[in-house]
């Protein structure tokens, strides 16, 4: 019998002990969350939840596709009870991959409109983001703007800044266009838009807004919460840039503004299913919904929640009524289409 002090014995034993110690201890009053939302955008809410209910929340954040892969490969052993994503398409993919379970609750049904949740309860939308046109106040009159479709028209040549088609926001926007106009129509539009680019796509949404403010281009597409972040920024330069631009809600007379949701679902093998459901209900509750608006500058899914001052300043809009699940299904088609259109 080899002695324990022999490194050949000791090492594996230590490894095993270490693994046992570091794997999350599945105590009763825990809920384990895989979140594709950044820590800053969700942790304060989770902390509130812990304070109210006494349930400890264990959190790991990451990119959506990677978290989904982690859930899939862990299978029935997964410690995760809740999957939080910032995109409806991923929730649809998660459902299709079989890692979510259907849960029902009167509170969730009451607070979340049907367009923003899975019909069978596999996932629930928690906040809405809108992607309107943002324009330079000094060079563009709102009357000149009308629709997303119109941005491909020749009068916008050399005037449009858009970020890369790597961005899920653009992929999801184009997926929505495919639903409304078909692949051929959308591809023609994308080619027209690319021809109007003032510069090759680069940077994030805030960068596009800054480029509009600085005069590199006149219009861009960006999510409103980035503009909200700039309006309330600690950086005077960002505030100044935000002051030079305004929001235009396109397609008001047609299909409505492109929207997507962040949301959550309970995992198929959740060991703390009750706490997971409790967490979802908390995130849909009035106080959490208000937090999304006040701190993240997102639109609450619950229409009864009054908007924050920043959201109110942009006015109201008509949102695309298309079920957001469709956007996820067409995401791959949208990426291929943008490749063909030369949208880098």
């Amino acid at each position: 019998m080899p002695k324990l002090s022999n490194p050949r014995v000791l090492l594996p034993v230590l490894c095993l002990l270490f693994g046992l110690l570091t794997s999350p201890l599945l105590a009763a009053e825990d809920v384990n969350v895989y979140s594709a939302r950044k820590e800053d955008l969700i942790k304060p809410l989770l902390d509130d939840f812990s304070k109210q209910t006494g349930v400890t929340v264990n959190l790991v954040t990451g990119k959506e596709a990677a978290l989904l892969q982690r859930l899939q490969s862990e299978g029935a052993n997964t410690p995760a009870d809740v999957l939080l994503t910032s995109d409806a398409g991923r929730l649809v993919a998660a459902r299709q991959a079989g890692v979510l379970q259907a849960v029902q609750s009167a509170a969730l049904a009451k607070h979340i409109p049907a367009a923003y949740r899975d019909p069978e309860g596999y996932w629930y939308g928690l906040s809405v983001r809108a992607r309107p046109i943002i324009y330079a106040k000094d060079r563009v009159k709102p009357a000149e703007l009308s629709t997303y479709e119109d941005l491909a028209a020749p009068q916008w040549r050399d005037k449009v800044c858009v970020r890369s088609s790597d961005s899920i926001y653009n992929q999801s926007l184009v997926a929505g266009m495919i639903v409304h106009h078909g692949e051929a129509g959308t591809e023609a539009w994308a080619k027209g838009l690319v021809a109007n680019f003032a510069r090759p796509p680069k940077g994030g949404d805030r960068d596009q807004i800054k480029a509009v403010a600085a005069g590199e281009c006149d219009v861009t597409l960006a999510n409103t919460y980035y503009l909200g972040g700039m309006v309330n920024s600690s950086d005077p330069a960002e505030q100044a840039a935000a002051a030079k631009v305004a929001v235009f809600w396109p397609d008001a007379k047609t299909t409505g503004v492109h929207v997507n949701v962040s949301g959550a679902g309970v995992t198929a093998h959740a060991r703390n299913r009750d706490n997971a459901l409790k967490l979802l209900e908390f995130l849909a509750s009035d106080s959490a919904q208000r937090w999304y608006a006040d701190v993240n500058n997102e639109y609450p899914v619950n229409p009864a929640i009054p908007p924050s001052a920043t959201l109110e300043s942009w006015g109201t809009f008509k949102a695309d009524t298309l079920n957001v699940a469709k956007l996820g299904e067409l995401n791959a088609a949208a990426v291929r289409l943008m490749d063909r259109a030369g949208w880098k």
Binding site: G19, T22, E74, V335
Partner: protein, 533 residues
């Protein structure tokens, strides 16, 4: 030996296996549209960064290693500082400074009343821009390895060439440089692999490469198989490069033929030449460290009071411990593999070591998935076994623990250490091993009592490189880390990807500062390890 190497190649093998599926329709699409761009951009990036880092790193290494000029002592370690800055962070800082909407161009427009079409300004966010950014943060790899090589070079060789009438330039170009070739090639191939694996910079700059393609196909088109196939193509490319490198130096021997060495006198550079030497060292230091760190400091000064809280120390401790642990582990493995290869230079051993060394060119995310899949499979089978025999579920033993993460670091960063260790070992005469063995030393004793002391510089270099790499590592950490465990790099990324660059500055600066201390310490240690001292 082979077992360890195969284990470390597991993530890469997993990628290969995933790729072994019929080629899907996505390929037709890729070939028709973007594949040629990916190929051209990746190649140009690799070549550009390779040439760039040689042009910056080698002269700096020669000047600080062999010459004497004002500020040499400072430059010796300060030139390493840019390696503490993650590539995507330097990209963010220069974009903030030089972009159309940035302060510099805005000021120019205000002064001269220009609009967009009235002037030309180099575009930071472009392929040349990406080459410049990566060169600035990666040249220290070439500098470090080249300098270690110059320092370990025997003074006698240079003296002989001097006595034969060779001037300083001839001695540099004709003798020192060819002798340092294994280290230079090791440095450049590391740099090129890192450039190929870069995601953050090229993605932010809108430059489509293999890496961005892998993510696009995988995340955007939801096609993991095609993504693995793209990654495999990238790997085959790297493998071919490595094989060519091996073949090119097959016959050459780079070790010294005499043991009697003493410290060669430094070549004094005065006047104009001294000034040029200072410039050659000052420019990379300014561009690669002082300016970006300065921008970070300005941002951090504004945002730190709001974003830095009690978690900050915790993050720093996590980052440092993880980096130190991984660096020690990886160095041991590299020494084991490098020495094993020296003891038994058989084809199988070589192939295994090469295979284990491929991980560096693979984007961290791909490695992470390559770790996740087999580890989850192991957990599943252990769990099934325990349930069947004891009726208890063991759950996840490896997945989602620090072990998985450390393993991923080993798979990814082993080549860094291995290159350095191997380059060092090739400079030790095999007759030295023979002598020690003839005197009765076991192979292990030869390694610990003969090689390790001689290799001190190379080993410390390896340790430092891995430490700083792990400190900066993001994608694998992000995917594999356990619950409630964050590092500085993760925090920096989360804020930066939420487009809150200024808020991320405090954490980025902490990564930089955490890297600076070890850089200085180790640089001193390497200096002391100089031959003949």
């Amino acid at each position: 030996m082979v077992g360890v190497a195969v284990l470390l190649a597991l993530p890469v093998l997993t990628v290969f296996v995933t790729a072994l599926q019929p080629v899907g329709a996505v390929w037709r699409h890729l070939v028709d549209t973007v594949l040629s761009d990916y190929l051209a951009n990746s190649l140009l990036l690799m070549l550009g960064v390779g040439v760039g880092t040689l042009l910056v790193g080698v002269p700096a290494a020669w000047l600080t290693g062999v010459c004497e000029f004002p500020g040499r002592r400072l430059f010796e370690w300060a030139l390493l500082l840019p390696m503490a800055i993650p590539a995507y962070i330097i990209a963010y800082t220069y974009t903030g400074l030089l972009d159309f909407a940035g302060p510099l161009q805005t000021t120019l427009r205000e002064i001269f009343g220009w609009t967009r079409h009235d002037y030309w300004f180099p575009e930071v966010r472009s392929l040349p821009g990406a080459i410049a950014m990566l060169t600035l943060v990666l040249y220290p790899y070439v500098y470090l390895l080249a300098r270690a090589a110059f320092l370990e070079q025997s003074a006698a060789v240079l003296e002989v060439s001097r006595s034969l009438g060779a001037g300083p330039w001839r001695r540099f170009l004709g003798v020192a440089l060819p002798l340092a070739r294994p280290s230079l090639i090791a440095g450049v191939s590391l740099v090129q692999m890192e450039a190929l694996a870069d995601y953050g910079t090229v993605q932010y700059f809108g430059v489509g490469t293999f890496t961005t393609g892998i993510f696009r196909v995988w995340f955007g088109m939801n096609d993991a198989t095609a993504a693995a196939q793209l990654a495999t193509l990238l790997l085959l490319f790297v493998f071919a490069l490595l094989v060519m490198e091996r073949l090119s130096r097959r016959q050459a021997r780079f070790h010294h033929t005499t043991a009697r060495q003493h410290r060669p006198p430094r070549v004094p550079l005065r006047g104009k030449r001294g000034g040029l030497a200072v410039l050659a060292c000052l420019i990379p230091l300014l561009l690669g460290f002082v300016i970006p760190a300065g921008i970070l400091a300005v941002w951090a000064a504004r945002t730190a009071p709001r974003v830095v809280d009690e978690r900050f120390l915790h993050l720093t401790a996590n980052s440092l411990l993880l980096a130190a642990g991984a660096a020690g582990l990886i160095l041991l493995l590299a020494l084991l593999l490098g020495y094993g290869q020296r003891l038994r230079p058989r084809p199988l051993v070589r192939l295994a070591v090469r295979g284990a060394g491929l991980g560096y060119a693979v984007p961290g995310t791909v490695i992470a998935i390559g770790v996740m899949l087999p580890f989850a499979a192991i957990d599943r089978s252990v769990d099934g076994w325990a349930r069947a025999w004891f009726g208890v579920s063991t759950g996840l033993l490896l997945s989602g623990t620090l072990i998985a993460l450390l393993f991923a670091y080993c798979a990814r960063f082993l080549p860094v250490a291995l290159h350095s260790v191997e380059a060092g070992l090739t400079r030790i005469r095999p007759s030295m091993d023979d002598a020690a063995r003839a005197l009765g030393a076991t192979p292990r004793a030869v390694l610990w009592r003969v090689h390790t002391p001689i290799l001190r510089g190379s080993l410390l270099t390896a340790l430092l490189l891995v430490f700083v790499d792990v400190l900066k590592e993001l994608p694998a950490t992000l995917i594999l880390r356990p619950f409630n465990f964050n590092t500085l790099a993760v925090r920096t990324y989360e804020l930066a990807s939420d487009e809150r660059l200024a808020d991320s500055a405090s954490f980025a600066l902490a990564i930089v500062l955490a890297g600076v201390g070890p850089v200085i310490l180790l640089s001193r240690a390497i200096g002391r390890g100089r031959t003949g001292q």
